[in-house]
């Protein structure tokens, strides 16, 4: 096989990795939380079954809605796939699209799908959709500048905004890994991850009360194929963010370093193992903290911003 074709196939494997395992992570996280709360919980394959069931169902679309409502699920399904082409999901060496976009582009792609999801939520005239949409934007307006500062801090620490280059800069030595600026960025990113994914201190992902929801009431109006794509898309977005967080920022090890097939396939269990460990941490955070009041979220994100500024300051004065 020519090297070109080999690279292309590795790219396809990355996409398949995302498509296949994203619902599994969702199921594992739900199961872990139930176990910590002393319950049995659904099977870890429940999300697959939900998606399968939804694909077989009829779709009901409000007469009031426009093309935006039908278009948004496709966008939110496709964007994580684009993102995974830009980031080191399985390989430590850059693939085709590695230099087409940096982490800012990753943020831009996610922002696009978020933008359409918000428009679609307001499109139907359901009461809870616009409430969720405006609250999502409230968190978004606070989180996005912090994301920018975090990316700048990260690129300042690692001297690049290309995810592959950032990944490579940590693996050089333990000293690079443990420098204070890097640790501060990790912590700030964890806070941002929780805010962006609607996890517990900010929003409750398993809550069923519409009036208290922040982001999760946006999808209430979807049914059938639309709902399946939304669900799968959000699971993939979670996994793609997890890949950015784990493979690029916290634990840059365990990726394939050669184009050898065995190496690439062996990276899959290693990356999944890292993700499982992080899901355990996330489940503990989710079950041990209480949800913040809506107007306290600004404090949460202000702390993330200040930690990012610290990271840059530490770097500027040459400590870390």
């Amino acid at each position: 096989m020519s090297p070109l074709a080999r690279y292309l196939v590795i790219n396809l494997i990355q996409i398949a990795f995302l498509l296949v395992f994203a619902p599994l992570l969702d199921g594992i996280l739900a199961r872990l939380e139930e176990i910590i709360q002393g319950k049995r919980g659904p099977s870890i394959f429940q999300t697959y079954r939900d998606i399968w069931k939804l694909f077989g169902k009829d779709e009901v679309v409000s007469e009031e809605s426009t093309w935006v409502f039908r278009f948004a699920p496709n966008i939110s399904f496709v964007m994580p796939i684009f993102v995974v082409l830009l980031i080191p999901a399985l390989t430590a060496f850059p693939l085709f699209f590695a230099f087409m976009g940096d982490m800012i582009a990753v943020g831009f792609l996610f922002a696009t799908s978020g933008f359409f999801a918000v428009l679609a939520a307001m499109d139907t005239g359901n009461v809870y959709g616009p409430v969720g949409a405006s609250r999502t934007r409230l968190v978004g307006f606070l989180a996005e500048p912090v994301f920018m500062v975090a990316f700048f801090a990260l690129s300042y620490v690692a001297n690049s905004t290309i995810p592959y280059a950032v990944n490579a800069s940590w693996t050089k030595s333990w000293a690079a890994m443990l420098q204070p600026a890097h640790l501060l960025v990790i912590f700030a990113f964890l806070l941002l991850f929780l805010a962006d994914e609607g996890r517990i201190p900010v929003d409750s992902a398993s809550g069923k009360v519409e009036i208290a929801m922040i982001g999760h009431s946006k999808n209430l109006e979807y049914s059938g194929t639309g709902a399946a794509l939304m669900k799968w898309g959000s699971a993939m977005k979670f996994m793609a963010l997890l890949i950015v967080f784990l493979n690029v920022i916290i634990t840059p090890w365990g990726l394939a370093t050669t184009t050898h097939w065995g190496d690439v396939f062996f990276a899959i269990p290693k990356v999944l193992g890292k993700m499982f460990l992080f899901l355990v941490v996330l489940a503990v955070i989710e079950t041990s903290l209480a949800k913040l009041r809506l107007f306290r979220i600004s404090e949460f994100l202000a702390s993330a911003l200040v930690i990012c500024l610290f990271a840059m300051g530490v770097r500027l004065v040459g400590i870390g």
């Binding site: 204070p180 501060l184 404090e299 702390s303 610290f310 004065v317 400590i319």
Partner: protein, 222 residues
């Protein structure tokens, strides 16, 4: 040595994060736990420096810090001001949390700039470049907490954070201080906590509140 430097950097980062947490937390109990974690980061840094510099005195610092700040201070506070810490939930303060964390960021920059000449002067000390600015930052954070909080218990946390910061900076500068001096400095901490705790209890039993911000004015003037 490079690895020890890196691990010391880890503890310095944790030290900063926990110090910032004390400024950013509203819960009374949360600030106490963050102070304990803050002291654990100091202990860790002392152990790393002790191993790297081969100085037994620093192990003493670590042991004393652990026993006084991680173990004794929470116990003393539970004894002397238990109701105030374990019974109450939120502390209020003069500034909002986002404003105070932003001011904390500014203070951090001031600390770095202020520590810069010191770091150059202490170039012979291998860990001073990390510990001196970080310790100075914690001193500023503690002073800021004292100034901004209206609650006696939270102000006590600020004082203890300042003390931690001073220790964090000094272990990298003077690493062979005699144990007597260290014990003397360290025993002060639970004693201070005890005295302030008893004062808090007295204030509480007389006035029913410990919001010292409200007690600053004389009653007749209102």
């Amino acid at each position: 040595m490079a690895t020890a430097h890196a691990i010391d950097g880890l503890f310095a980062a944790l030290f900063v994060i926990f110090g910032l947490g004390v400024i950013g937390t509203r819960q009374m109990l949360g600030t106490l736990y963050l102070f304990v974690l803050h002291s654990l980061a100091l202990t860790g840094s002392a152990i790393v420096l002790g191993v790297a510099l081969g100085s037994p005195h620093l192990f003493w610092v670590a042991a004393i810090t652990f026993s006084t700040k991680v173990v004794a201070v929470p116990l003393v506070l539970r004894y002397s001001a238990g109701l105030e810490i374990y019974g109450r939930r939120e502390v209020d303060q003069v500034l909002t949390i986002p404003v105070s964390v932003l001011i904390a960021a500014a203070l951090a920059l001031v600390a770095w700039v202020a520590a810069n000449p010191l770091v150059h002067a202490l170039a012979a000390r291998p860990f001073a470049d990390i510990n001196v600015p970080t310790g100075l930052m914690a001193v500023f954070f503690g002073a800021f907490t004292v100034a901004v909080r209206r609650e006696a218990v939270a102000q006590l946390m600020g004082i203890l954070i300042m003390e931690n910061g001073a220790f964090f900076a000094s272990i990298s500068i003077v690493n062979d201080l005699t144990i007597i001096a260290e014990i003397a400095a360290a025993v002060d901490v639970p004693v201070a906590a005890l005295v302030i705790g008893l004062l808090i209890r007295n204030i509480h039993s007389v006035t029913g509140i410990t919001r010292v911000g409200l007690l600053a004015e004389l009653k007749e003037r209102r």
